[in-house]
Amino acid sequence: MDLNFGSMVDYWPTFLRGAWVTLELSFFGVALGTILGILFALMRISRWWPVKFLASAYIEIIRGTPMLVQIFIIHYGLTGFGINLPPFISGVVALTINSSAYMAEVFRAGIEAIDRGQTEAARSLGLSRWMALRYIVLPQAFRNMLPAIGNEFIIIIKDSSLISVIGIAELMYNARTVQSITFSPMEPLLVACALYFVMTFTLSRLLAVLERRLRS
């Protein structure tokens, strides 16, 4: 079969609009997922078992069920309970709860990898538990976690393509629109792939630069 990208040029604005929506979805997924992820990580290392249990249960359930099913539950299932979320919000919620569950584990492992002596030294000076975490443990943990965090960001960008199933005109959705207009099965998908790759590769390069800066 021959590939003909010539006809794709006409749909360039459609692809770009889709890519922009993908970036928006991913941005909120990453930002909110990171904040919630830190919260769940702190809950998981809490001394109170109910708090710990709650966080563990959340993480296990979210990680252990398919995101596609979660998206349908959030967008369609919840309507049965009178909750009608706009598609974009549903998409952000689905991405956020997923990324927060994975991020929580990244943060927990990062925090636990810091030598106990660091916390002890901070506490022995009179710093509170929170201050020790904030000034001593998290800055060191963050450096070690950066590659794993970067990984998670990249996964979020790619997973956002699943959101197309609830009718948000992000990159994947628009690629399929172009598919149906042009009757070209392959080209729109390859263009979408290329755009996803540009996004993830740019991100991974940026993170590599940040990592190098933090090391020096």
Binding site: D115, G117, Q118, E120, A121, A122, R123, S124, L125, G126, L127, S128, M131, Y135, I136, P139, Q140, R143
Partner: protein, 240 residues
């Protein structure tokens, strides 16, 4: 200054401390020696509650610090601690290591904290290392910075948990010298150590611990020359 009554500590079924009673007076240098596993580090770490005592009470200047209601963070500001493995903050310069706690807890200005820190670095002989990161320092230098960091909070008592055990032999002297100077300036100190010469020279009182109890105590020289308890005799025969 510090009073310890009936202090017990267990991990699960294993009892590490089996009832410790002692008192540490203002300006006194107390050295704690004993075989490994005797509970001497645990005892020290109970004093500022890095370990939670299972039973018994500890009072610092008549305030019970084992009380659940006590202001632990406030009390810890009055007790400096130096660790075997230094535990300097590797992501901060030496100066930032020293100024973090005074700035955050005493609301000291950056300039004032810095000035104090440089003064402290001078007393431990490291005034030129303020901008260095800990990984650029030798073990002995690290431990001297750690001592300065603890002193930056102006504690009334200093706890030392085997401060020279992780050092190369040629660096032990410089750390002990700093500690000696502290003792001469009247600092109240509790020191867990394996340095018998130092214990004899600087200690006002020696506690010999074994099996989670204080087996024998007294003036260091007297205990070294004439140990009373067979377990003390046995231990000293091995290490001296």
């Amino acid at each position: 200054m510090i009073r310890v009554k009936g202090l017990r500590k267990s991990y699960g079924k294993v009892e590490i401390l089996k009832g410790i009673d002692t008192e540490i007076h203002k300006g006194e240098v107390v050295v704690v020696i004993g075989p490994s596993g005797s509970g001497k580090s645990t005892f020290l770490r109970c004093l500022n509650r890095l370990e939670q005592p299972t039973e018994g009470g500890i009072w610092l200047n008549e305030r019970e610090i084992t009380d659940k209601q006590s202001e632990l963070n406030q009390i810890r500001q009055e007790m400096g601690m130096v660790f075997q493995h230094f535990n300097l903050f590797p992501h901060m310069t030496v100066l930032d290591n020293l100024t973090l706690a005074p700035r955050k807890l005493k609301k000291m200005s950056k300039e004032q904290a810095r000035k104090n820190a440089i003064e402290l670095l001078r007393t431990v002989g490291l005034e030129d290392k303020g901008d260095a990161y800990p990984d650029r320092l030798s073990g002995g230098q690290k431990q001297r910075v750690a001592i300065a960091r603890a002193l930056a909070m102006e504690p009334t008592v200093m706890l030392f948990d085997e401060p020279t055990s992780a050092l190369d032999p040629e660096m032990v002297g410089e750390v002990l010298d700093v500690m000696k100077k502290l003792a001469q300036n009247g600092m109240t100190m509790v020191i867990v150590t394996h340095e018998m010469g130092f214990a004899r020279e600087v200690g006002d009182r020696l506690l010999f611990m074994d099996g989670g109890c204080i087996v024998e105590e007294g003036v260091p020289l007297a205990v070294f020359q004439n140990p009373q308890h067979p377990r003390t005799q046995d231990f000293l025969a091995k290490v001296l």
